[in-house]
Subunit: 337 residues, 2 copies
Amino acid sequence: MPATIRDVARASGVHISTVSRAFSAPQLVNPETRSKVLETAEKLGYRPNRAARALITGRTHNIGLIVADIANPFFPPLIKAAEREARHRDYHVFVADSNEDPAVEEELVRALAKQVDGILLVSPRLANSIIEGLSREAALVVVNRQVPGLPSVVMDVSQGARSAIEHLAELGHRSIGYLGGPRGSWTNREIRRAATAAARTLGGPGDPVEVTALGPNAPTGDGGLIAAEQVHRAGFTAVLAYNDLMAIGLIEGLATLGVRVPQDVSVVGIDDIALSRLTRPGLTTVANPTAAAGRAAVDMLLQHGDDRRTTGQITLATELVIRDSTGPGPQGNADPG
Amino acid sequence: MPATIRDVARASGVHISTVSRAFSAPQLVNPETRSKVLETAEKLGYRPNRAARALITGRTHNIGLIVADIANPFFPPLIKAAEREARHRDYHVFVADSNEDPAVEEELVRALAKQVDGILLVSPRLANSIIEGLSREAALVVVNRQVPGLPSVVMDVSQGARSAIEHLAELGHRSIGYLGGPRGSWTNREIRRAATAAARTLGGPGDPVEVTALGPNAPTGDGGLIAAEQVHRAGFTAVLAYNDLMAIGLIEGLATLGVRVPQDVSVVGIDDIALSRLTRPGLTTVANPTAAAGRAAVDMLLQHGDDRRTTGQITLATELVIRDSTGPGPQGNADPG
DNA sequence: CTGAAAGCGCTAACAT
DNA sequence: ATGTTAGCGCTTTCAG
């Protein structure tokens, strides 16, 4: 049986409200009384019960973090950074995994809403209208997506996709595939759009750069592996993948088909997960500042306190990291068979 | 302002205790009354406030999960499985990252203790005596370690290490290095001990198998990378690493030194993280059932309710997965068992 | 600066 | 089967 505020009050000879103040409003209590109280509290191993405190203050000092798939290496650095940032502000984090299922995602928000001061929705698969509805049940910050009227943190995938296509075009590639991710992904749409748009501004007259989209695919190594044959048949000389996992799976699949990377086909990923510098060939990829995004999201959530309709949008820069999976394209050949 | 039990009571014309029972003791209430209550509750979007409930029942329906490093790919599958299992039992999970720091770990247990019904301590770096002390503040289940008197879930790393050494010995390796993990790791000690013991039972008379331990090292890709030169100088023909990450880092480091795997040196990892079948060469490794461990740990924690001194110990089998990072040793024995 | 009293939302005896 | 009452541990007026 843990010590309660009453035990501390009795042991230090003051009223419970004084003990309460010693913890939550130090300036309202005599320094001597305060230190005496804190000392007894320490001795008894007393810690204020947050549930009781929450009941009256309305603030739980907890936040929720909902991700599509904890096991996808994109998320852990973000989770880690968010948890760390939250803890430094004396918040605890509920982590929940929707398993890529929008319905589960929605239910998780509802289930967590009462227990937290706000929820971070990372890479949500939900429709905008539903997210807007949910934002009335809990303060929401959306990561990796933009929803009108809601605070969000995104990484600049458009710019990243553009850099990737520019890099490939400079290497001489003219027929580029975009290996798309899951249906309903905001990021997927942004990448496709930006990559296609970038292609139009590149290449000379009579020497167009073409980007062709494939998908949807599962955003996993297997998703890339399975797509290898399709990529091979399509005859692209370079491929941009929705994420690193798919890119690595693709490279693996291509190897099985006797296609070498980067000699025969160049491959670019997105994310720069830890793994990407450990594979061979090292993966050329668009680095996403996931840890910074996690911190920024917690920041936004906690900064604005109770005011749920902040519309702040943060965009974090991405950066192309060139490793060994990209190389020169076919010279003087705009459209290889 | 979310609906409270009082709103539901008023709207459905019953007393609040009836509403309470409709949710937490359905058999005590008239089915018709119950369905009417649930209907109004649904309409008002009412959800019982868990903090208020916890205050009186003493059960929060939350559990804590403390890991050394969320970003280490060993943990996410375990976290994911534990969270899923917990949610199916209507529990939410606080995830916290100790950053490999025992002091942080201890503080996390203390901070979480009041808010949860129990805590899963995964790969704890804390001394036994401290863990035992903490077990008085919260129900604890220890994963990846055994602590006298506490329930625990471990994967059979001893058997795994033995299989690995046997595999290498059969391939003809006689001088094997063990690339150790972090200081204070229970798993590290177990592996070292089992590998050394296995070596003694192998090899013929006048043909001993030797296992030499190196370390401690950081349990990361960099840890393995940095150790490559030391491994090379020591002249081992095969190496068992504390985990896959280190094994992959080691392979990378050896490649830099012009040492080929498996032609010049064989490497075996432990864990079978997702990454290990995506690298080249594919990593031979001891597969750890991390997801099963996560589920089992939640199971143990919730099964025993309030009785904190269960001493159940679960050991989950491991399995050697042979891929391409191991090959014949200097004796040229190409075809094992 | 400290104490007294009320009450957050809910459950658990105890009545009826 | 339902209502009444007390109170979980804490914060927050309001007095003094």
